[in-house]
């Protein structure tokens, strides 16, 4: 099957659009820390999810590179492969979860522009299906979840010791770990009795600290300076909001309501971690990206001229600020495309 992409850049409103032959929904774009690369997923809505890297220079994307994991060459395998959930190491490489058809989901590593992805932890070091890779801000520790015990547990790999150790292991499934700015504390979610709650873990602690429970799911947390921001559907299954709760606090505040839940990522925050980006699920508002300040000073709207805008991500590179997002054109396409927009001075 020919999977080569034909990348075309066109301007829709002020956004450069990434399109390709072969179809598939673009999703979950994630900027490299220096803003020179963008990783994104392409889901063909049937049996596979591919991961691509595209080099971006001054807001202009070059030819994307499809990441093919070892043993996953198209000549060797049929459909059903999976590569998703990219997370960038602060010093450049990208880690992501991927599986060959019928194989375990494992964590892979790639230095952009380098050779093919390599399995990051072998089956001996970290058995089971691995997911939710995330690297500490100091780049020294990788946290992830593993199904080795039957339910998802949080593990950490230390670069210094070259060893993997379970961090949070319970009979309940834990998901979506993220490091605090101290590179040691973790926040994660746990499924229990049909809902998802947030917990944090600190080195040396024997128990995890409850961060937020309550109605509905509290999901995909991340730190933004001294707060934890997360998605919540406490108002109903299909009504997602973004909330923030101070580290160590108990009272959450809602930052935005009726947002479009990103495909797989945590809430997007600005590089200075002072604001959260989101898109709206309301048809009347779904053509814009919104930037809400964490200090409550207001919300800014960035109009795109597109429809069903989602998966926002923002980065600062070379003194400019670039916003990536997925969206449907107003007409003429069945697939969600990837866009890059220069929003310097607008956030």
């Amino acid at each position: 099957m020919m999977l080569a992409l034909t990348l075309a850049l066109s301007l829709t409103a002020n956004a450069a659009e990434v399109t390709w032959v072969g179809g598939g929904h673009a999703g979950n774009p994630q900027w490299s820390p220096d803003g020179s690369w963008l990783a994104f997923e392409v889901n063909n809505n049937s049996d596979k999810v591919d991961l691509y890297l595209v080099k971006v220079s001054n807001g202009n994307a070059s030819s994307p590179q499809k990441l093919t994991i070892p043993g996953g060459s198209s000549s060797f395998t049929a459909g059903g492969s999976y590569a998703a959930n990219p997370n960038w190491h602060p010093r450049g490489p990208v880690l992501f979860e991927a599986a060959n058809p019928g194989g375990n989901t494992r964590i892979y590593f790639l230095s952009p522009g380098g050779s093919s992805p390599a399995e990051y932890l072998n089956i001996t070091q970290a058995p089971g299906n691995l997911a939710w890779p995330t690297v500490s801000p100091d780049g020294a520790t990788l946290a992830f979840t593993s199904s080795a015990t039957g339910s998802g547990d949080v593990y950490q790999f230390s670069q210094a010791t070259n060893k993997v150790a379970v961090t949070v292991g319970t009979a309940l499934p834990e998901n979506a770990p993220r490091f605090a700015p101290d590179s040691k504390t973790l926040v994660f979610s746990r499924k229990s009795q049909g809902t998802e709650d947030l917990f944090s873990w600190a080195p040396g602690a024997t128990v995890q600290t409850s961060v937020k429970g309550g109605n509905g799911d509290q999901s995909r947390p991340r730190y933004a300076k001294n707060e934890i921001v997360y998605f919540t559907n406490e108002r109903g299954d299909d009504r997602w909001d973004i909330a923030a709760i101070p580290t160590g606090g108990t009272e959450r505040r809602i930052l935005a309501q009726d947002i479009r839940l990103p495909l797989r990522s945590q809430p997007a925050v600005t590089p200075d971690q002072t604001a959260v980006l989101y898109t709206s699920s309301a048809p009347a508002k779904d053509s814009s990206v919104y930037v809400v300040k964490l200090d409550g000073s207001g919300t800014k709207e960035i109009k795109t001229g597109l429809s069903a805008v989602g998966d926002p991500a923002v980065v600062t590179a070379g003194g400019r600020t670039f916003l990536s997002f997925t969206a449907l054109p107003n007409s003429g396409s069945d697939w969600r495309q990837l866009h890059i927009l220069d929003v310097t001075g607008q956030i």
């Binding site: 070892p70 043993g71 996953g72 060459s73 000549s75 060797f76 395998t77 190491h89 010093r91 490489p93 060959n100 058809p101 019928g102 194989g103 375990n104 494992r106 590593f109 230095s111 522009g113 380098g114 050779s115 093919s116 390599a118 399995e119 990051y120 932890l121 072998n122 089956i123 780049g139 670069q159 210094a160 010791t161 070259n162």
Partner: protein, 412 residues
């Protein structure tokens, strides 16, 4: 039977030959095996079973020796397997061979990636090296292929083997030695020799200090050896003896806590009453008599064994001095001693003789430390010796109080 009849079975056999399946050629078997292994590799790779992929690739390499041609994709899978197992040298070699078959961007990028992150190193150990065989990167790498490469080399080195191949650029400690691996063609070499001998501790005396002793001694001058009498030697004193003082000062140097060397000089005398045939001349009241006396200076060099508070010393001693003695040795009575021939017995008995004496011999002492004086100890000593001036023996014994350095209070 005619010739045509004899040929009939042969012709029949030849006619039937095309109907019988020919035996498989060896090349076909290898080709089939190649196909099977190739499929197996692909399935194993999809399951990330890299050790098994590596084993399969090695079987392909065996087939290659028999003429089979490894394909680009098989080389790349072999490279993936070697990379996953940390054998970056083999991995790079396979990618390079793949790139020669088909210089794809993937293969060329891979080579460039390896060459920009890894360097060549040769680490070996001297046979005399007995230290730790370990490889520790100064900064553990984060990239999985780099970590695997370090682990691969670590395993070889820990097993006692040398390692020649690729390692991520950076600094490493091998035992106590450092090696820096740089990207590029430059080979970093490290031959780990036996660890440098520990710096020799400068010799330190266990103890050193003054030594002194003071005591009373009994000294005897035995009978003259008749064989030593001669006219040139003149008259020789009869045997004599007496008590006196013996005192010495010196230095004791502890080469260890249990052994020291004593160098001592001192003064040793005796005072005694002259006698004849065991009867003191003073009792005869025929003549006025003067007492015998001997005054010696001595030097003693001895080794001293210390067993806690018990000390045993022994060594050579040399004394020199002079004295005055009453009485001529009876051996001179026959004229052996020259012009003094013919001395009457009484004259011989009351003859005053003076002269010098030099004697050598040995002395030994047994001391027991009783008291401490700061860095010194006080001990009770029994000492004795035997010396000769070539005419006679001079045995002596002494009870003394000795002060010597403490072996356990050496000041640094």
């Amino acid at each position: 039977m005619t010739a045509s009849r004899r040929l009939l079975p042969l012709l029949a056999a030849l006619a039937l030959t095309p109907l019988v399946a020919p035996p498989a050629h060896a090349g076909d078997v290898e080709k089939a095996e190649h196909t099977r292994i190739g499929e197996e590799m692909r399935k194993l790779a999809a399951r990330n079973a890299w050790p098994a992929v590596e084993a399969s690739f090695k079987r392909l390499e065996e087939l290659e020796k028999k003429g089979e041609v490894i394909t680009y994709k098989e080389f790349m899978l072999g490279a993936e397997a070697a990379r996953a197992l940390g054998d970056m040298t083999a991995s790079r070699s396979r990618v390079e061979r793949a790139s020669k078959l088909d210089p794809t961007k993937e293969a060329l990028d891979w080579l460039a990636d390896v060459d920009s992150n890894f360097g060549k190193v040769e680490i070996s150990f001297d046979n005399r090296y007995q230290g730790e065989k370990s490889l520790v990167p100064a900064v553990p790498p984060f990239a999985p292929d780099q970590r695997a490469a370090v682990a691969f080399a670590q395993a070889q080195i820990a097993a006692g083997a040398s390692y020649t191949g690729l390692l991520p650029a950076g600094e490493y400690m091998v035992g106590e030695s450092k090696v820096t691996v740089a990207v590029g063609e430059k080979l970093a070499t490290l031959r780990v020799g036996p660890p440098a001998a520990a710096p020799k501790e400068p010799f330190k005396l266990a103890y050193v200090g003054p030594r002194a002793q003071l005591g009373v001694a009994f000294t005897a001058a035995g009978d003259v050896d008749d064989a030593s009498l001669s006219a040139e030697g003149g008259l020789q004193a009869a045997a004599f003896g007496g008590s006196g003082a013996r005192l010495g000062v010196g230095l004791e140097i502890g080469l260890s806590k249990t052994f020291g060397v004593i160098a001592e000089v001192g003064y040793h005398n005796l005072f005694g009453a002259p006698s004849q045939d065991g009867t003191p001349l003073a009792e005869r009241e025929e003549y006025l008599t003067a007492g015998n006396n001997l005054h010696l200076g001595y030097g003693w060099l001895a080794g001293n064994l210390r067993f806690g508070d018990l000390w045993i010393a022994a060594g050579p001693i040399f004394s020199a001095g002079g004295g005055v003695v009453t009485g001529v040795d009876a051996g001179c009575a026959g004229g052996v001693c020259g012009e003094y021939d013919g001395l009457a017995d009484d004259a011989a008995a009351y003859q005053r003789l003076d002269g010098d004496v030099r004697m050598g011999g040995g002395a030994a002492s047994l001391s027991y430390a009783l008291v401490d004086f700061g860095s010194l100890k006080g001990a009770l000593t029994l000492e004795g010796g035997a010396q000769s001036d070539s005419y006679r023996m001079y045995p002596w014994g002494q009870v003394a109080f000795t002060i010597a350095p403490s072996a356990s209070r050496r000041k640094e």
